[in-house]
Each structure stands twice: as C-alpha cells, then as structure tokens.
Symmetry: D2
Subunit: 359 residues, 4 copies
C-alpha cells in the first residue's frame, strides 16, 4: 500500500468504508494558517453522497474533526489529523459480495494482492477513501488562495455524450455550483441531469469528463525531469477512483496539429510575458509558464449496476451477481471536489518545493 502523497506538503490517508472512519494526516502545512473545521466541512459537503437526486442515496453526514495540528484556530506546523466517522455501516447489505467478486470493482485485485479483504463494502477501494483527500485539499486550497493568489476550480465538461466547452479563463465557481451537475453551461447541465436520472431508473451508470483549472500560478512551479507539473497532476488524477484518462492543454487533439500551429507564441507587454495561445496548458518542459493551467480527466461509468452480471466467486467458480439497494448513477458531480483537492495538493507541494530550491 502507498497511502502518502506529496513531498513537502504530504498527506497520508487512512480508513475503509466500514471501519472506525476515514481520515488523513497532513504533514508539512505551514504554521500560523487560520484553520478550523469550518474551512474543511464545505468541501466535504460537496463530496458527500446523498447531496442531490443524481448521486447515490447512501446518506453520511461526514462531519470532520481536527484531532491535532491546530491551536486557537491556527496551524502549528505540526501534523494535522482530520477524522470523519463512518456512520452508514450496513454490512448486511454486502453479504452477497462476501463470496463474489463484483465485475470491474477492486474486489478481485485486492484479494489477489492481499489474500484478504474487507467485504463490507469497497473497503479501502471505496470512493469513501477520498474523504481524506478532499479534507486535506481544503487546506491546500486555502494556502494557495491566501499565500500564493492561486485559484483552483473543476467542473463537469461531459456526461456520456453530452458535452460542452469550458471557458478556461473565465468560468466561475458560482457558475459551477449553481446546478447539481456542477457543469457551468446551464443548458448542458439540464441535459446531463435528465440523462443521469434516466440512467438511474434504468439501473445503469454513466461516466464523463471533468476539467480542472488553476489560475494565477506564477512561472516556475514544477520539478523536471520526473516530477514535472503535468506528470504529477496526471498521477494525482489517475489515482482517483474510476479515472481512466488525463490530458493537459491540447491533449489528444494536439497530436492532430502541426508544430507551426501548435506552438504558443510568446509576447510581452510591460515586461510581462504571456502566450498568444495556450495549447501548452500552462506548462512547458514540466514547469508552469504563468498561463492558466487546465486539463481533462475521464471517468469510467460506475461499476455497480442493478443488473445481473457474470462473475466468479472466491472459490474461483463461475457465477452471477446482481447488486441490490442503492447505486450511484454518475460519480462526476461528486468527483469535482476530488479533482480540485488533488490539483491543490499538487500545486501547494510544488510551490513549497520551488521555494526551497530557487527562492
């Protein structure tokens, strides 16, 4: 297992879907940052199941407690432990999967790796694990905003075939939060919501694409040749449950362009450098160039569907399985705060690393 992420702003998450809870230890947070639970809870509320009619109906209040690292409302520079209790534990709902591996879930691979698994839900592989990431990301976002003037955003760009263009430079958090699909194009959002409702009724699921954005980062963040900023963002996103693809700037479309067309010409006004286009996605040679950073992350459809499926059991016999109860027709709206959190964690870490070597 590898449950730590980051070098200087380093998080370690812990917890399973059915255990004493889920949480995170944040090591390396700068001291004297104002911090209370009120800074963190709103992000957890955005991630929470049951928050709208298009997410899973599993209900968890997901109330965060700061167990250490802050004193009188300020960070101490010591490790911050955040804890969210598990409340909605209904192990009996999982009796059927005790002996069967759910298709395209991690049941089989965890069992193959560890020779044991907590079958009461997804265990460590449950999306519930991201509670710790989102909680830590709330701190990272605050540091970026207060100390570096960087804004981190994410939004739903596509749900199955319903897609829209995201205005990278101008989209606002309020536009994103104004609907339960978290898509800033209100017309597209309405279609997405209808699609997800239809899919839910059909006992099926859909995937899609989230766009991540960071505005205001200075030129100079990123640590080539391995910890390039885009490489670390790719890893961060691909470590999220259900993520299948990542592209930065022009991405796959860039492979269709010629160099003459793809190159971003530099211009300067008042000694301030900018690029006329931004196919680079704000990163060149693995280092931020001062332009807006943007990227897309594709998520597969959620694996739990309300239909009988072929699978094998723990004795490696062929069998079938039909999920019961609640299912999550589309993870995209809840994945938006996860993408923001991971983006913020990568950027804060790189901000501190850059400061250490180059300032």
């Amino acid at each position: 297992m590898a449950n730590s992420f980051g070098h200087l702003f380093r998080i370690t998450t812990w917890g399973e879907s059915h255990s004493g809870g889920v949480g995170v230890v944040v090591d390396g947070c700068p001291p004297r940052l104002p911090l209370t639970e009120a800074d963190i809870q709103p992000e957890l509320d955005r991630r929470r199941p049951g928050q709208s009619k298009i997410t899973t109906r599993r209900m968890e209040p997901d109330t965060v407690q700061i167990l250490s690292g802050a004193f009188n409302g300020k960070t101490l520079g010591t490790p911050i432990c955040l804890w969210v209790k598990n409340e909605d534990a209904r192990p009996e709902a999982y009796l059927e999967i005790r002996d069967k591996f759910r298709p395209s879930h991690a049941d089989f691979t965890y069992f193959a790796k560890f020779g044991i698994r907590n079958w009461q839900g997804g265990g460590r592989a449950s999306a519930r694990e991201t509670v710790g990431r989102v909680a830590a990301g709330a701190i990272a976002k605050k540091i970026l905003r207060l100390r570096f003037g960087v804004e981190v955003l994410a939004c739903v760009k596509q749900v199955q075939k319903i897609a829209t263009d995201i205005a990278i430079e101008t989209v606002k958090a309020s536009d994103i939060e104004s609907n339960i699909a978290r898509c800033p194009d209100q017309a597209a959002a309405a279609k997405m919501i209808r699609l997800i409702e239809r899919v839910r009724r059909a006992g099926d699921t859909v995937g899609g694409v989230i766009t991540g954005i960071a505005r205001g980062a200075p030129a100079g963040w990123g640590e080539p040749v391995f910890d390039k900023l885009g490489a670390d963002l790719a890893k961060a996103m691909m470590s999220l449950p259900a993520a299948k693809a990542f592209e930065i700037g022009s991405g796959f479309a860039g492979a269709l362009m010629t160099g003459r067309r793809h190159n971003d010409p530099f211009r300067a006004t008042n000694k301030k450098v900018f690029t006329k286009t931004n196919f680079s996605g704000g990163i060149q040679g693995g280092i931020s160039n001062g332009q807006t950073i943007y990227f897309n992350v594709a998520f597969k459809p959620v694996a739990t569907v309300m239909h009988e499926q072929q699978t094998v059991d723990v004795r490696l016999q062929n069998t079938t399985l039909k999920a019961r109860g609640r299912h999550d027709p589309c993870v995209l709206p809840r994945a938006v705060p996860m993408v923001e959190a991971m983006t913020a964690l990568v950027l804060v870490d790189h901000a501190l690393r850059h400061k250490a070597q180059c300032r």
Copy 2:
C-alpha cells in the same frame, strides 16, 4: 529539480545536451543479474537520433559505459552508473537562442525557475535526457523478462491523422521493428513515413500516439491508494518530453459507455480467472488483474519548426526567431523505446514493492 524515479528500483538521471554527457544511476537492482553493455546498447540504438531518414539528422553514436555496479558480467546489488558521452556538441548552432526563448520549448520556464539556463541546446530539457531512462529501462526489461516472465512493448498507433488499431494481445516486437515508423501495421507505417517525410520537407513537425503494452504481469501489482499502477504509469509517461495525454484501457472512449457495457465480466477456467473484455486495461482499483496492461500516450508535434515565429527575448522584448539547421519532424519512432523503458521501470518497481509487503 527531481531527477529520481521509483522507490525500490530507483533511477537518478543526470546530464544536459551539452555537458560531459548524460547518464543514470540505478539503485536497487537485484544482484546476480547478468549484465553487460551489450544488454543496454541496442535500446540506445533504437532511441538514437539519426537512425533513419524520418528522425533528426543530429548524429550521436551514444555508446554506453557501465561505470559501476557490475563485476564479471553480473550485477552486484550496488548502484549501477551508466554513462554516455556527448559527442555532437556544436554550441555555435545555438547562438541565436542564447538570448531568445523558443516558443513551446522549455527555455522560458527554465529561465523563470532557475534564473539561468544552458542555452547550448535544450540543456536539461533536451530529449537527450531520456538516454538515461532508456539505458535504465533496458535493465528493467531484462529483469521483467528473466525473473517475472513479463514482456513490455510499445508501438506507434497514430501519426497526426494516420491511425491504426493495435492488436494488444498479439502484436510482436519484430512487427514493430520491421519498419522505421515502428508501427506494426505495415500499410499504415508506409503512410506515416510518407507523411513525416513531407512534413520534414515543409520544415514542419507532427505528433501522434504511442500504445504501450505489458503482457504476463500477475494479478497483484500496484500500490493503492496513491501509487496505483495506472497512476504511476500516467506519471511516467507524462514525464516524457512532449507527452500531452495518457489513457489506460478504454480511456476517454470509456466515458461514452454505460456501466453495463463497460464492466469486464470475470470468468474462470481451471481455477484461472480472466475477464471476457478488457476495458479496464489490465488494472482494477489500481492493481493489475492478470490481463494485458495497455495504454495510449499522445505526443505533441516537436516545437522546433523551420519557420519564423513570434517570441520574446531575455530582456522581455518582442522579437522573432527562425530555427536553423536540422530538425526532427516527428519524435514518435524514437519515443517508442522511451515508452517501453518507462513502462518497465514502473513495473519492476511495483514487482519489488509487492514482493516486499505481500509475499
């Protein structure tokens, strides 16, 4: 800077395009592995500039020397230092870029970060840096083959608009190496070669897509929740020069499918588990499931084009720049061994990590 990659099989690359050379230190290689320069040189020859009419004409023999870590043809378990001298140093070819930032190169961002750069070529940001990766990757490939029975391959799937389907389960190294485009579809390869030649004559460049494949990996490799196998592959690929996108298994296309269709049903024959489809790309929950691992990496067109372009100089004045001499119309064929190397490095590292905790 962050010039190390891997946890237990850990490489540290060093060198600039114009310095005493480029190289790598491999730490954590298992002892008693047969190893001489003859194991490494062929991979460097595949990466070498000037190897065919469709690559850059910069000529470098790129002869590798093992400076440490092996004795009488076997590894000692101690760090292996590999060194390739720089031969084709022509700093005068770079005089014009001494004071100008080439568009969509790393000249500007390195200068913004470090306040200094080696303007004699790309310096550390040159693709020449990948010599160390490919050399270390040759060792990783050998370990995977001899000790784990895993085969790693990559091939060109697309050059600009010319694309083909790759037969993930059956494509052979000899098919890939049978043409200079490194595309196993000979008809497509011929088209790609013609396209690249035309683009070269036009002083322009094209990008494309490489498919990476690993066959034979057992179920159980991968370290959730952050060092998921797909996340580490994503980071490895996105750390390559010019990489812009990564997708594993169904990737972006998976976002268009429903869960019922996307799930890979498990089946078992003689107590051996397999999946009927492989949209997962051989990885579920971040852990290999025993099926073939496959993914795509998109590369942007090379930034050096033989046309005048707008840019700024080091005094932040607007100016123009026209590259002179040789250029590389398409990096794809030479990037194939780089993708293989990074894939092998990720897999060996995960093989050792799995062994440490779970065997």
Copy 3:
C-alpha cells in the same frame, strides 16, 4: 515537520499533548497478521505515565483504538490508524509557561521555527508523542516474532552513576519487567529506585543509559551506504526525546582498542558462521552478520526540575521560572518500551527492504 519514519513499513505519528489525542498511521504492514487492541495495549501500559512510584504522577489511561486497517482480527494490508485520546488535559497548569521558555525544553526552538506553539504542555515536543511510536512498535515486534523469529528487548543499564553490565545474549524480558526500574540486575535496580526516589524528593532529575538488543536477525539486513542498519538505529534512537548519545557494539570503548584486539574472528561449525567476539555489535559494513545486535542510548536528565531557573520570556526579556505540580524524576524506565519500539520499527523495515531486493 517530518513525522514519518521507515520506507516499506512506514509510520506517521500525529498529535500533541493537549489536542484531540495522539496516534499513528502504519502503512505497509503485511496483510493477514492477527491484530487486535490487545496486542498493542500492553506496550502502551509499559510507556504510560503514573505506572509506578518512580515515574511522573500524571495519570493517563492511554487506551488505544484501532480505527482502520484490520478486519475480523486480521490486518488488511491497508493503513492502520491507531488513536489514543488525551484525557489529562489541564491547560491551567501551564499558564506560567505561556509566556516563558522552559530551559532545555523545546519551547524556544519550536517558537523560533514556527512562530507559534501550543503552550499547554509540551505540545508536539512532549514525550506524549511517543505513544504513536510505541503503538506502532507493538505491531513491528509481533511481525518480527511471528514472521522472522527475531526478539527485541531493551533494559536500563545505568541511572546516573549506578551502572551494571547487561548479559546481551541471555537477558530475559521477565528479568527486565520484574522491577519498576526495568533493570535486569535486581541489586542495581534496587539502588536505581532508591536514587530516583531521592532525586524526586529533591525536585531534581537524573538521566542514564538504556541497552537495546535484537536476537535472531539473519545475516543480510541493512542497506548501505546510507541506510546502514547501525545508522538507521542511531537515527531512530536519537529521534527519541532526551536522547543524547548512541553507540553500537564496542562503541566509544572500541576507539581505545587496537585493530588486532577489536577484530571479531569468524569461525564456522556445521556450515554455520559465527564470530568469536562481538565488538561489531552484530553489524558489519552496515549489514547484520547474524550475531546479536546490541547498542546503548544515553538519555539526559529530564529538563523539568522543581527549582527556580533563569530563562527568557516571549518578549525576549530575562526572567526566572519555577515549575509547579508533578515532575518526572527519571524517564529511563518508561523509555525502555520506546527503545524497543524504535528498534523493532527499524528491523521490520529492513527485513522488508532486504526481501524486496535480494530474495
């Protein structure tokens, strides 16, 4: 801050003396190890304040809870979070040190580093932080015993001027635990106890030396050239509160011997190698040689004394300070389980690292 230790068996501790508690996340524990709170609590009881008349009278039950990583009494291979609530919070006892730096405590240096500190006790610098280490060490000890046949022990060798020789090869845990000084020489123990009681009454404190022992480790553990087994033990011990010195095998006394006398001759019986003497302390070239590993750690006298002392306040004015209430006359008996825990953590980590590269 750096609150993680170990590479493959990696712990991250968190918590201050006055916060929501203290704890640890253990990442990398092998799966399927039997584990309940009953494996951990006894070690915490040995570390607990108030356990005997010669320790501090601060009373804390220090009851451990496993929040994650185990299921039905077995480890899952996922991160194990252990939590001990803080109960004895009496911030008013610390009002006087709110504005003053206690001499030879970490009050001043934490303030100098972070610009803030939790003045309600030692905060993160309190020995209370070692709860997490001892809890994690209990797991490490169990792995060493069950999976590697290695026994880890520590005992008090010296309290101020009262010293004894420790029989490295034969001393037993029951001898050590048979008195509250944790010194296996019962006569010396009686003298140590009398000394500590006298010192307590005088409002003063004493330091001493603890011997750490590991028996049964095979030849081959240790990772030169930097993570030599002795180097990692040195770091582990010197990271304990109040530790001032470390010596392995012959230690400082070895500097007085000649090479002829100091060398440990190898002998073999039935193909089993051993050394006739063990000045090396079971480690040669940074790698275990199969003999008993032993070392000494010196602890300074506890800094809190019941006498007026010169110091400065937070406004950097000269002043005096007199501690009130309870004090700990000698940390040695309670430091024994800490030394054992850190020894076990180092050894398990090296056992796994050795397995990864060389088995």
Copy 4:
C-alpha cells in the same frame, strides 16, 4: 542498497573501489552558485590516501570532473554529476581474499546479503565510496558559507588513549590543518602522530574520536519528530565506514548529571537569546537553538592488520588470513573531511526544508 541521502539537497553516490570510478549525483543544488572543480578538489585532497606518512600509502590522485549541472562556472539547478576515476587498481593484490572473508570487514555480510561481491578490494564497502560524499560535501559547505553564513569544521579529538579538549567556540580550520593528525592541539597532535607511526610499524591499527562543529546556524533548523537535527547528524555519521558511536552536546557524560546542572539557562541581550551553557549541543527538541552545534564520533580501529587472523572462507571452512602490502594504521585524519562533508550535507538539507515550510 540505499545510496541516496537527503531530501531537498539529495546526493546519490555510486562506484566501487575497483570499477570505472566513484562519484556522486547532487540533486537539488540551488541554481547560480559559482562552482568549478577548484571548489571540490581541495576537499578530495584532504580525503586522499597517501597524503601523509600516517595514512595508507595507496596512491590515488583522485581528480574530480564535473560532468553535468554547471555551465560557465555556475550551477544550473540541474543534477550535478561528479566523477573520480579509479587509478590504483591492482586486483592481484586481492587474490587471497577472493575466497576468504576478512574479519570485521564487510566481505561476509555483503556476500550473505547479495550472494556475490567484488572481491577486488572492498568493493562498495571500501572507504573509497566516501569520495562522492566529500565531493558533494564541498558544494554543501560552499552553500552554507555563502548563503547562510554557517561554518562547518571537524578535527581529531582522540587517537586511542591520546585525547585533548576541543575549544568548540574558537578552534580554527588553520589550526586543524597545521598538522597531519588534524588535531588543533599541537602537542597532542605530535603524540598522536608518533603513536600512529608506532602502530603502523607494528602492523596494527588504532581508532579514535572526531569532533564535528557547526557555527552560525540560526535557531529553527531541524524537522521533528523523526528528522530531528541531532538524529539526522547521528545517521549521517554512523553511515561513515568504521563509525561506532555518536554523541551530541553533553552526550554520555550528560547521563551523569542532574537536571538542575544540565539545563542550559536562557539569557537575552539586546533581544538576542543565548544559553549560558551549551550541554544541549546547539539543538533542543531536535531543532537548532542558535548556539554552536557540536558532537563526537568514535571510529573503531581499521580492520586490516598485518597479522595472521582466524576466519572462514567462502565454502564456510575455518582458515586463517594474513593481509599483505599496504595498510592504513589510522583512518582518523582522513575521516575529518568526511565528517565535515556529512555535517554540511545534513545542514544544507535542513536549511532548505526549513525555508520551504516556515519562511
């Protein structure tokens, strides 16, 4: 193997005594630092065998080459590879140890660990490995001097029974370098030199103690709870060949004092805090307090003696061994630059870490 040291100023050493050479890659060096071989060579000359009549007579010029990371005499911020060729390779001198394990050397443990070893000398376990450390340390010392105003020194305090007191606050580099024993007390130095010469003639060896000193470090360096400054210094020193013990500040002697006597009273003059005594050795709670940092390191006598000794061979049969040729009667004078190098490496790394989180 673990051949990297440091987090932000990170070195990776490589090479064996009989291979293509020894060297180091320095990753994380700040950019724009003036650097040429002339900054490094003098430190290697102080470490070089054959430099005086009291060291081994093995002659190696040990000429360093900068292979990467500097341009026009300044560091680039990219990895700096330093290389020293091996010149004095006489494998025939080692034929006898091909099949025998030298007592108290690492021959046996390396073979036990790796199942193979380079028997042409000490291989990776040779003190020759420290060339890379000393070369990297020269850069670290320069950074400390130029950017942080910190001076690092070491000197010989004791050779076997001949010991002297070191004036921690006032001893000068020129005093240390004024004699070949590197002991600033000229009378003691003369005795040490005579002792070493006598021991050499007797074919024997002696050990001793080196004092390390760092003056000028600000309060605030050190990363509790595991990477305490004293803990990292302990590890650094105990990773040196032949090191057996480490003590900081009062060290073992501190265990004999009472708390009242051992505490260092704080005083302030003109808002500048200092301590009246310095039993803490400049570090409290793992963080520098602004006073002089000092510590002792004990080295065992060199294991190679010119006398027949009992040992076993690779077939695990009892046998005897008598070393031939040249031997090193005392490693202490040559270990002085090694102690300085490791001290500087620890301090630079901590300076950068502190800057990252707290400035």
